[in-house]
């Protein structure tokens, strides 16, 4: 693993339980364990892909990093720029959080819901700069213009309202807004899921260009394994609130060490009809986060499950350099990599 000093953000044993209330007195009858002990790190300037099926807690992780949810447990260590000491965003007082917020920004999935329809693009892009007292007057206008240029839109677009733009263009505006404060980390939560494939490609290209230009890090959250493989250097795969596998992208796809990873890869539909390979059809639905199975949460669907799996939660252990996996039998299983499975992602 990388040493702590290189990490921009380090999440350790992060937890978020949502209470479930019932009845007239809103009695708490249980907890949804949306995130249950997640740890990973993001290096300066890298892309970490966070992937999983719906309900696995990937969005909740992103929101906790943004400070939108207060974690139930664990810490989020953030290294502010210019050599200040690391701070734990999970434990920080709200007043001290404000100056740090500008370093971490977010892009949302739905470009139709995440832009205020009553503000012009100029107002949308200027707002973070004004609120944080970074620029005003001429300087403000210059910065807004450079932002719109950075995301490939034109200065004429600044006077228009969001409704005048297509989904892809709106997503560009969202990205420009997120970049206004020169963040060190961008949390992108399914930024291309609402877009057509040809537009998705434009946004992915833009994200890669911007990263090269500005050197910021991405936490790229998606359910699309093909996209995650394309954009990420390292990948965290989650299943009902836990990390299943955490590895460099190539290592994960060449040699998955968890049965869930293998099955997921084999299930991605391929655009190469002649490559349609071995499909590992999993039984049943993803586990319910309100009622997580005992032991390994994946054991009821796992092809290789043994008695131990239903009893003991497997710890996340390093099996190769930088390759961590949470499976009791990762050492003895001989799982098939993406290319050998015939999956064409």
């Amino acid at each position: 693993m990388v040493s702590d000093s290189e990490l921009l953000l380090e999440v350790t044993d992060l937890k978020k339980y949502f209470p479930v209330q019932k009845g007239v007195f809103r009695k708490v009858v249980g907890h949804i364990k949306a995130v249950d002990g997640v740890s990973f790190g993001i290096k300066e300037g890298e892309t970490l892909g966070l992937v999983g099926e719906s309900g696995c807690g990937k969005t909740t992780v992103g929101r906790m990093i943004m400070g939108a949810y207060r974690p139930t447990g664990g810490s989020i260590w953030f290294q502010p720029p210019n050599g200040a000491t690391r701070v734990d965003l999970a434990a920080i007082e709200p007043s001290k959080m404000k100056p740090l917020r500008r370093h971490i920004q977010m892009v949302f999935q739905d470009p139709f819901a995440s832009l205020n329809p009553r503000m012009t693009v100029r107002e949308i892009l200027a707002e973070p700069l004004v609120v944080n007292r970074i620029a005003r007057g001429r300087d403000l206008e210059d910065r807004v213009r450079s932002l719109i240029d950075l995301v490939g839109l034109k200065v004429q677009h600044l006077n228009r309202y969001p409704h005048a733009f297509s989904g892809g263009q709106r997503q560009r505006i969202s990205i420009a807004r997120a970049l206004a404060l020169y963040p060190r980390l961008l949390v992108a939560d399914e930024p291309t899921s609402a877009l057509d494939v040809s537009v998705q490609a434009q946004i992915v290209n833009l994200a890669l260009e911007i990263q090269e230009q500005l050197g910021l890090a991405y936490l790229f959250i998606s359910h699309d394994l093909g996209l995650i493989r394309h954009i990420s250097q390292r990948i965290v795969l989650m299943y009902v609130g836990r990390v299943v596998e955490y590895a460099p992208a190539q290592s994960l796809f060449d040699r998955p060490r968890h049965p869930y990873t293998e099955a997921l890869m084999s299930n991605v539909p391929s655009t190469r009809p002649e490559l349609v390979g071995r499909k590992i059809i999993l039984k049943g639905d993803p586990a319910d986060p309100m009622n997580v199975p005992s032991g390994c949460p994946f054991h009821p669907r796992c092809l290789y499950a043994q008695q131990l799996c239903s009893q003991v939660v497997p710890p996340l252990l390093e099996v190769d350099a930088g390759h961590l996996v949470a499976c009791h039998f990762s050492g003895s299983l001989n799982l098939t990599g993406c290319d050998a499975l015939g999956c064409a992602i």
Binding site: E53, S54, S166, D196, V197, S198, V199, Q200, A201, Q202, V204, N205, L208, H223, L225, G226, L227, R229, H230, I231, A249, Q250, A263, L264, S266, N267, V268, P269, S270, T271, R272, P273, E274, L275, V276, K279, I281, L282, D285, P286, D339, A344, I345
Partner: protein, 337 residues
Amino acid sequence: MPPILTVENLRVHFFLDEGVVRAVDDVSFSVEAGKTLGIVGESGSGKSVIGQSILRIVPSPGRIVNGKILLRIEEGNGSSGNLDLVPLAPHGRLVRSIRGRDLTMIFQEPMNSFSPVHTIGSQIMEALRLHSDVSAAEARNRAIEMLGRVGIPSPENRIDGYPHQLSGGMRQRAMIAMALICNPRILIADEPTTALDVTIQAQILELLKELQQEFGMAILFISHNLGVISEISDDVLVVYFGRVMEHAPVDVLFNEPLHPYTKALLRSVPGIDTPVRSHLATIEGTLPDPYADIVGCPFFGRCTECGGETICRDDPYELTKVADRHYVACPRMCIKT
């Protein structure tokens, strides 16, 4: 084998205050029993309207203005004929007797396609009892059997459950059970796996293939996802701006696409040949104005291969046969071959 459904020169227009949207513009295709035709296109391409017009459920102010939808009718005495669905009244007795029996549909979001206040069983039995003369007890047995067949565990209990009590994947299975209860000859599936996770999507695709083998129905599978289309289809129709750009067997379409739009679409998906973190091919520009009446190729202006030749803009749209079962609507391509 004669096709079970033939669509000829179908045009569906939406008459809005701002103008006329040509949602489906001169589309022709046919499907054989036991085969799957994939219809792929980006949002706004008119792919869903094609499915709706076959069932005669195009929402107002849309109207079928031209074309034929021929459903093959087998008579009892071994002879057969074609019934054109277009002249029939959309709410008439004949259409209603065909819809749900010969032609059925499954939708993207099964929560919106089931009534939330009726049990799953009563909705499945309703379809069966409307179209065939069975007793309530027999209908119930058939519904339980069907729910079991689509992989719903303990169907005898689930039949009295409500749609909200099922997970997304299970609801989609129940939807499929409802669609197949009358043993239809054609199933129209409009983005049936788009709202589902990949592992559940794989289950549903596998189930549809199995059921097709068993019941022999033709499937019209509508999706924006090229991967899903490549896995389930025998033939594929690529639609853009209400028109068929290319129509080919699945392996031909994905390995040797001819139309520049098909090629561009396939290139924009990161795949096995795309180096990691490389620049993805994109389609520049946007869809034409929906109210525009375009004579030539609707992809003109975004196409990187035609180089702005006026023939592409001016030559009237035409789908030309280039090989057996392979049709392309590209003026430049067809001149060459």
